[in-house]
């Protein structure tokens, strides 16, 4: 497998100079950090030439502190049995990504979800604007700086709680004659 | 005066059929519950349901034909009941009979379903349309052994009147289910489909089709369908009793015989899961058709 991986790194690096490979020695997994403009070409190359014909998943990580999104395209070769992780970064402000749904049609669904949940625009993505959310008015809800509680407080009605709401644990202990375990004490109000 | 009495008798027959059919429905629900190890609703639950449905507002309609659908069903049930002699010696429940009424009944029994199909078609609900196609396919299935059984009986006893069959049985002293067994078997197997209990409840499968053709009908529409269904059940059971089990001389005998016969589809249904449409049709074109053919051969030879 190491031979296959070395071969793969060589192939990718011959075409894409700035692709940084990261190897996980005991796993059938290989990472490439690339520029976001290279994504369509590197995926096409991997699919057509190297036999990575299956798009397993597209994952996204919100690096709030660094101001970036990380998109991870996970592709799989049924012959070499190696997972290739193609990672790229895109800025959080007005993120724009190249579209890959002409390479794999199923990428369309992921891209629509990212557009709705994270606000990432994909160039030339042809799909209706609404995907899962209907009549959505707030910011993209899956971003980490989206405060769901605040949004819920603004948007929805809330039933006021009881005035005399308190910690009922003491009463429960008194009735059942059991002790609170130590780990549970820190959760009491 | 005679006409007046006849009309009164007809009304009494319909009321009797309604009460008996509804009670049978309630008893069937009770039996189903007991088989499933439940307590079950009381036997008069169907009357409560019917009254509640009648008292609901019915503010929907999808057009003229949709309104007529339940009425067609009701007309079909009542007309069927009118032509089936309820008791052997007439009396209050003397009905219209003529030579050839069995053939007429064959047509009029389908009439209600066709009217219902038209009504369900106008609602525009896809579930209704699927239910109607399923119902008509199933009808194609069970009508063939049923008609074959009746044709065999007609050939064998050279009469097309139901009273004629009763007379034959009274003269010979044996029930026709013993003297022409194959026709009886074919007819009973066809009855399984006619009553639409499981495994042949493909028309109104609640979890699958949202009760099929009925899905747009609530309130008074559903009340009409429910009561017409009860009347139709009673009429069909009485027809079977008249044809194969020697009729009935008084009400008690009639109730015992119809109830015993009614238990055949009910108990068969309790232990069977639902068929798919093509399986149901294939079922009816298998053994029931074979017995129907056998009945005709038997009738021609003997």
């Amino acid at each position: 497998m190491q031979k296959l991986k070395a071969n793969l790194i060589e192939h990718i690096n011959s075409g894409f100079r700035d692709a940084v490979a990261k190897d996980y020695p005991n796993e059938n997994r290989l990472d490439f950090y690339v520029n976001k403009q290279c994504i369509p070409s590197i995926l096409t190359y991997a699919k057509d030439r190297l036999g990575y014909i299956h798009l397993s998943h597209i994952a996204i990580v919100d690096w709030l502190e660094e101001g970036e999104f990380e998109l991870i395209y996970i592709i799989w070769s049924p012959e070499e049995k190696i997972k290739m992780f193609v990672r790229t970064r895109v800025e959080r402000e007005n993120p724009v990504m190249p579209n890959i749904d002409m390479i794999w049609r199923q990428a369309n669904t992921y891209e629509r979800e990212f557009r709705e949940m994270y606000g990432i625009q994909f160039q030339g993505l042809e799909a209706p604007e609404e995907f899962i959310l209907e009549d959505w008015q707030g910011p993209p809800p899956m971003r980490r700086d989206f405060d769901t509680e605040e949004y819920a407080n603004e948007t929805f009605f809330h039933r006021p709680g009881r005035e005399d709401a308190g910690d009922v644990r003491e009463e429960i202990i008194k009735r059942s004659r059991e002790e609170i375990p130590d780990f549970a004490k820190k959760y009491s109000r | 005066m005679e006409l007046f009495l006849n009309i009164l008798g007809a009304i009494a027959t319909v009321i009797l059929a309604f009460i008996v059919g509804m009670s049978y429905g309630g008893i069937v629900r009770k039996i189903t519950a007991r088989v499933q190890n439940r307590k079950g609703p009381p036997w008069y639950q169907n009357f409560i349901d019917a009254y509640k449905l009648y008292s609901k507002t019915t503010a929907i309609h999808h057009g003229w034909m949709h309104r007529m659908g339940p009425a067609f069903l009701m007309v079909s049930s009542v007309v069927t009941l009118m032509f089936v002699p309820v008791l052997n010696n007439g009396g209050w429940f003397e009905n219209m009979n003529f030579q050839g009424d069995l053939i007429f009944l064959l047509y009029i029994m389908v009439f209600g379903s066709l009217g219902m199909a038209l009504g369900a078609g106008q609602t525009g609900n896809p579930n209704s349309a699927i239910g109607v196609t399923r119902g008509l396919s199933q009808m194609v299935g069970f009508e063939i052994p049923w008609v074959m059984a009746l044709v065999a009986m007609m050939i064998q006893y050279k009469t097309t009147s139901i009273t004629g069959f009763i007379e034959v049985q009274q003269e010979s002293g044996t029930w026709l289910m013993f003297s022409s067994p194959f026709a009886f078997i074919a007819a009973v197997l066809a009855m399984l489909g006619m009553f639409r209990y499981s495994p042949f409840d493909i028309v109104g499968a609640p979890s699958e089709l949202a009760s099929g053709p009925v899905s747009e009908n609530g309130g008074k529409y559903l009340f009409t369908m429910m009561s017409s269904g009860s009347i139709f059940t009673f009429a069909k059971l009485t027809l079977y009793v008249d044809l194969f089990m020697g009729g009935a001389n008084n009400l008690l005998v009639l109730l015992i015989k119809t109830f015993a016969l009614y238990m055949v589809p009910v108990l068969y249904g309790l232990v069977s899961p639902r068929y798919r449409t093509e399986q149901a049709v294939r079922y009816f074109w298998g053994w029931p058709l074979f017995f129907g053919l056998l009945a005709i051969i038997y009738a021609v030879i003997f």
């Binding site: 769901t148 | 079950g40 609901k56 609530g218």
Partner: protein, 181 residues
């Protein structure tokens, strides 16, 4: 024809008695509560002995049983289902999520208080309520029906503007069908 108050009362009593003993439930299975309905209906608890029975379509149903949280998307469907039901109709809110949001109190896409959008007759508390609680809820509804107090549909009809306003707040671009019965 003179208006006889007592006979009217008797008529009402019979009607309410029939309605009370024949409750056809349209279980709108949102969320986790739907799993509590089968044990309620089947042999262990057997709701059918009280006349409670499942209905397949809103046209035939008396009670809309909302089992669990409602997202803003399902709320639209629930409102449509409710408006297709025929009078008399009742709503049972089932589980904490319909009362105050329950564990989804801070979720961005579930509504918290159901009775701002639909008139709820009976709430069943719990997360999830066990079948005993469900049966207790039905018994409460039966009691309300017998007393003639389960008039949620009347409330909805009279305060339609207010309910519509709240519903519009959730989904402003939704073209709602007219409520005409």
């Amino acid at each position: 024809m003179s208006y006889d108050k007592d006979s009217h009362k008797i008529f009402d009593f019979i009607q309410n008695w029939a309605r009370k003993h024949s409750i056809w439930v349209l279980a709108y299975g949102t969320g986790c509560g739907a799993i509590e309905i089968p044990p309620t209906m089947t042999s262990r608890y057997d709701a059918e002995r009280l006349g409670v029975r499942g209905a397949a379509t809103p046209r035939q149903a008396d009670v809309l049983l909302i089992t669990g949280y409602l997202t803003t998307k399902t709320l639209k469907r629930v409102i449509r289902v409710y408006e297709q039901m025929q009078d008399p109709k009742y709503v049972i809110g089932f589980g904490s999520c319909t009362i105050n949001g329950g564990m989804y109190y801070d979720s961005y896409n579930t509504i918290k208080v159901l009775d701002k959008y639909l008139p709820v007759d009976v709430y069943i508390n719990g997360c999830m309520p066990r079948p005993e609680a469900v049966l207790a809820g039905f018994a409460k509804l039966q009691q309300l029906i017998a007393e003639g107090k389960a008039n949620g549909a009347q409330k909805y009809k009279e305060n339609l503007e207010w309910y519509r306003e709240n519903q519009k707040r959730i989904s402003p671009h939704w073209v709602m069908p007219e409520y005409n019965w």
